[in-house]
């Protein structure tokens, strides 16, 4: 009995400890970030890694997501004879939900895991301690460019995803099922409001922060992990943790933002 209580208490304390460490990590980074000197090239390099090299996977995922949304909505709408709503259904679901969330999940898989492993190995090999010995601030040198790049890259990737998804929907809806081209696009232009685009934008900005924050914090705090594992095993465990935790955080934040930005008067 005592053992069970120990386990519950230990887990709770560990959870609180981790939450605190992650929060302190974020605020330390944000604080160090605003201090000069500012160096642009590391940020460009990270945008290249997080953003530009995720393009291919985003293009493929976006095309198929748009196609499958159009396919499913067409099958439902055709029963009510309101195929004209296909464009706005595809547009709104891509802009509000599918675009930001799927882009974030793709980036977690492609870049989040890599960031976590990279920083985790640096911690494990004591490279971060070496930086500190040389009076180079690891927060500003390592983490800040990644966070800035994440916040810039995610919205860009998200809107590329949405655009290509709309084209994928066009492919299935208009070219295969023969919905009117005008009905598809005009329905979309009419159905999508500026508030929808705003929601997609806010979501992608927040997701960009969350992904890079959790991935780099988990790697950076490798030595404080409960399992105490260092080296290859510790890095592999911490990377798995980071991917799971940031995916859950994305889905949770997605619901939270949707609920907060939901305007009761405008709902339909």
């Amino acid at each position: 009995m005592k053992r069970i209580l120990d386990k519950i208490g230990g887990d709770a304390l560990y959870f609180l400890n981790q939450a605190g460490l992650l929060t302190i990590f974020l605020f330390t980074t944000l604080q160090r970030m605003v201090m000069p000197p500012y160096r642009l090239f590391p940020v460009v390099k990270q945008i290249h890694f997080i953003g530009a090299r995720s393009m291919l996977v985003i293009l493929v995922a976006g095309t198929f997501t748009g196609m499958v949304i159009a396919l499913q909505f067409y099958n439902t709408l055709v029963r009510f004879g309101s195929v004209n709503l296909l464009g706005s259904a595809v547009g709104i679901s891509l802009i509000r939900e599918m675009g930001p969330v799927l882009t974030a999940l793709m980036v977690i898989g492609r870049a989040g895991s890599a960031i976590c492993a990279e920083i985790g190995i640096m911690r494990s090999d004591e490279q971060i301690d070496a930086l500190e010995c040389m009076a180079i601030d690891p927060y500003r040198y390592l983490i800040a460019p990644k966070i800035i790049a994440g916040v810039i890259s995610l919205p860009v990737l998200t809107f590329i995803f949405i655009f290509i998804g709309i084209m994928g929907g066009y492919l299935v809806g208009v070219l295969i099922f023969g919905v009117g081209e005008g009905a598809y696009f005009q329905g979309m232009y009419d159905g999508v409001l500026w508030s929808d685009i705003q929601m997609g934008l806010v979501k992608s900005l927040v997701f960009g922060l969350i992904i890079v924050w959790i991935a780099s914090a988990k790697g950076f705090l490798l030595h404080l992990d409960r399992s105490g594992a260092y080296g290859a095993e510790g890095v592999s465990r911490i990377t798995t943790n980071a991917v799971v935790l940031s995916s859950i955080a994305i889905l949770f934040a997605d619901y939270l933002i949707s609920a907060l930005m939901h305007e009761p008067g405008m709902a339909s």
């Binding site: 945008i47 309101s82 547009g91 810039i152 590329i160 409001l193 500026w194």
Partner: protein, 150 residues
């Protein structure tokens, strides 16, 4: 990797993203940089606008000519006040009629304006006096069911 520097790739990436965003924002977000100047606003009061949303269409003779702006509730007269944005080249006569109609049976509500015959025009910021409220199918049915007995 040798032919393209990192800067080129990142620049291309950001330009693509910006293009996608501006396409979506301008086409769908109705950001009115271009339209605001050649439009004017008129208001109309309705007993009920049930189902009408901000951003709904305004039709004249079946053609979309404008959009519904702000909707507010007048707590003195218990009426709904609707702002409508109309292009400058369309002149509305004093006795034009604004009525709320439904697109199909379950479709969106929109406002239909029927042109009048008077000489006087409604100035920008003016009000359409003749209005018809939205017709509720349920109310019609209940009227039919409960009032035919007598």
């Amino acid at each position: 990797m040798n032919r393209f520097s990192i800067e080129t790739v990142v620049g291309l990436f950001l330009v693509l993203g910006l293009a996608a965003f501006s396409f979506i924002a301008v086409k769908m977000g109705d950001i009115g940089f271009f339209h605001d100047r050649d439009r004017y606003t008129v208001t109309a009061r309705f007993d009920s606008i049930s189902g009408l949303k901000e951003g709904a269409f305004i039709e004249m003779a079946g053609v979309r000519v404008g959009t519904v702006g702000k909707i507010r509730f007048d707590n003195l007269d218990y009426e709904a006040v609707v702002e409508m944005s109309i292009p400058n080249e369309i002149e509305l006569q004093e006795d034009s009629i604004a009525s709320i109609r439904t697109n199909g049976i379950i479709g969106d509500k929109f406002i239909k304006i029927s042109a009048g015959g008077a000489d006087e025009l409604i100035p920008p910021g003016g009000e359409i006096m003749e209005t018809e409220s939205s017709i509720s199918l349920e109310e019609l049915i209940s009227k039919y069911i409960f009032e035919t007995d007598s």
